[in-house]
Symmetry: C2
Subunit: 469 residues, 2 copies
């Protein structure tokens, strides 16, 4: 950390870029000895980034300079395309080394992303025991606790002393994802309690684990959805969560670093659904246009076709609207305002539902709140619009068709449209959650299409009333 | 964990609800002794949930049954309204006990949410040292690493042996947020390295820390944005991140449990901005309607007023559009399709930017990708629409105004509208990021308003071309 002496170095990313440049220079000079030495000290994520940025041939060559352990660590930090390149450029025995060194959850993640021929080769390279475990994990439902858990945890027995526990941690701890949270199981592998290394360190070496352990363990079941697992991490500030099977036997643990990825993934899925896209597991930068097309066209198509109702309404009132010139010009603004108002409410409600901030049983409270917001927003917009139409359209632009009555028609419509949009926007997601659907699909696009049609009807009805057409 | 013997118990939440009911019963029976005993065993989050659900008077009474340490743990898990109630119902010396027991970051979080009079009372109750620290932390910019870090970490010196290190951890570890990651500092408190308890446990007791420590420490500076801090946690799978000041001195650490909250908060902010709302720190359920109104009205107003352009375009072409009856009826569908297409692209790009998946320098690659997606989506929608208009509108509904030429006009417009919308939808967020603006505000609402106006112009131009009006 000598670099910390100068100010520039106080930005970790800048520091890494400098290191990267130095490594590139060593590589150009073919100074493999120094390169290898420098790579041993580097963080595995930074090393993976560095390797991803050089050409394929040199990447494979440099990768093979790494020790078996380092190689597995760096491999786990690669994106799937780089993993595939590496697998295709190393020998079977090197592959076995990596697969066996990988944490089980990282190995399973990789298998889910690889093409079939690569999966086959990896499975062949794995030991029978690892192969059986990978197969078992691949069989848990997608996005379940079982599919994201890992098997590398420390288990203790309650009759052990603190001294015994430390001896066991020292013996088996090296390859565990976490040694800080240890799980106490009985003879039939049922979870009995949890004890932290902090408890162990602060206790007398002769204390029995039974005295130290916390029996009130927060746990998940193998089939539990990963969203519920990540809520537990957020509620209980966990570092690791034990996963039990139907019989209460401890089968794996989920660690907090995996949950961070789950949270990013779940937020992305919600955001995608809210914008009318099918959610995708692959990052945008690695998704092919055809794939993107397949995720986007279903909703676009459905929404385009459902706009038929709006067209039909417009067609049947076309004659009537034409009587008072100027009315048609405000239709897009009214529909836009309805759509935006509805989208705001839907977004707020969907996000609150997904964070556990509100529940379906809060429906009445939410509606009452949104109703008050709608009255406030609707009247403000209405008043401003009335002033704007009279001042800008009527006086300044001298548009003859914008009379006081037309301005009143448009402005009064705004109030009702905003109120309708906000109620529908908040009710649809809650209703979806109540009947077990994903509230996120009830978002902006669907709500706009619905509010489009209803906004038009409200507008026409009020025009009839005020303008007597 | 005797409960694990029956199957019902395999759902942790169901288990907690049962416990909660039992506590309520004890409370009703005024069996305080048993209640106190049961509460000592409970998880502090579950206990906070239980207390939040009973009435205020009983909540304060039950809270005062807790030991000082437990009280602080439960207090940290309360939402701000409950914290305020508790503060208002305990004595000054009880308040001092809680403030001193709280982790500094939890104390600072609380202060940021409390009204001024409560803040004053808490500050009076704190010891001068704690008061100075809270004041210092409150002065870091909002959402900076400094504002979310905590001061409770274990620091070691490099000349210590493993044995010395354990002795120090045992002595000072009790109140630290994490003891598992220890930070090595020199005499002037500059950060020199990091060592984990795992390293210490697996090493010989006489080894010097200098031999074990990793000098390549990932760190953040006090003024760094929390979004960048949370990216580091996600990239490097960290449990704790040291925060250094301008001189490289270690001033605090951020722990992973705080980052989980940061990630939820950042995702919520993005989602809110994308739906045209000002982001809010307060959960929806605790935000008053007037507050919600203030967050929503600015964008609604701006978007309503900017729809004036669309109105003006419609007004000036009203005569022309009226020549061919039926054209007007398809305007909402075209605008909707444009808005939805643009929103999809914008959402995908904004999310990718915020996850670090793409960067502004990828602009050309993104445009090329979106262009291909737009061609695919545009032609599919166009063909389906052409068929639908001829079959449904023309043949089945017998709408005389939907001629082949009108159908061709609408369908051809779709292609160009989708292409325009997808390009604008992907370009605006990247452009915003490039000039240092938040890409999320370039989302759906703004893009719909823009595509509304341009869609209309495209439609009119193509109508002129095909229908010769």
């Amino acid at each position: 950390m000598d670099e910390l002496d100068n100010l520039e170095a106080l930005d970790y990313d800048a520091l890494q870029e400098k290191h990267s440049d130095e490594l590139l220079e060593l590589l150009d000079q073919k100074n493999m000895k120094e390169l290898k030495l420098r790579m041993e000290d580097m963080n595995e994520f930074d090393l993976a980034e560095f390797l991803s940025e050089i050409d394929d041939k040199r990447m494979a060559m440099v990768f093979r300079l790494l020790s078996k352990e380092r190689a597995a660590e760096v491999f786990a930090n690669f994106e799937p395309p780089e993993q595939e390149k590496i697998i295709n450029s190393i020998t079977d025995s090197e592959l076995t080394g990596i697969v066996e060194e990988l944490y089980l959850d990282d190995a399973v993640d990789m298998m889910e992303e690889m093409p079939a021929n690569v999966v086959k080769r990896v499975m062949r390279a794995a030991t029978p025991q690892t192969r059986a475990l990978i197969n078992q994990y691949l069989n848990y439902p997608e996005n379940s606790a079982g599919s994201i858990m890992t098997a590398e945890f420390v288990d203790l027995k309650k009759y052990m002393s603190v001294k015994d526990a430390f001896a066991r941690i020292r013996r088996i701890g090296e390859d565990k994802e976490t040694i800080y949270i240890c799980f106490v199981t009985n003879a039939s592998r049922k979870l009995e309690g949890v004890v932290t290394v902090k408890d162990l360190l602060l206790a007398d070496p002769d204390t029995e684990i039974e005295e130290l352990m916390d029996r009130n363990v927060v746990f998940a079941s193998t089939t539990e959805d990963q969203e519920s697992v990540s809520e537990k991490f957020s509620d209980y500030d966990l570092m690791a969560l034990p996963v039990v099977d139907k019989e209460g036997r401890l089968v794996g643990i989920v660690t907090v670093d995996d949950i961070i990825d789950v949270m990013e993934q779940e937020a992305t899925e919600d955001i995608e659904k809210m914008a009318g896209m099918l959610p995708s597991d692959t990052p945008y930068s690695r998704t092919k246009p055809l794939e993107i097309y397949k995720n986007r066209i279903p909703w676009l198509m459905f929404l385009m076709l459902s706009a038929t109702f709006t067209s039909m309404i417009l067609t049947s009132f076309e004659q009537m609207l034409a009587i008072v010139p100027g009315l048609v010009a405000f239709i897009p603004m009214l529909m836009g305002t309805g759509g935006n108002s509805g989208a705001q409410s839907a977004t707020a409600v969907i996000r609150s539902l997904s964070l556990g901030d509100i529940e379906p049983k809060d429906a009445l409270r939410v509606i009452w709140k949104e109703w008050r917001v709608a009255v406030l927003c609707g009247t403000t917009l209405s008043v401003v619009n009335f002033g704007k139409m009279l001042l800008l359209d009527h006086l300044i632009l001298g548009n003859p068709s914008v009379t006081i009555l037309v301005a009143a028609t448009v402005s009064l419509s705004i109030v009702f449209i905003v109120m309708f949009a906000k109620l529908v926007g908040s009710l649809l997601p809650i209703g979806a959650e109540k009947i077990g659907l994903d509230p996120a699909v009830m978002a902006n696009p669907l709500i706009s299409t619905l509010t489009d049609a209803v906004s038009l009807l409200i507008y026409i009805y009020i025009a009839k009333l005020i303008l007597g057409i």
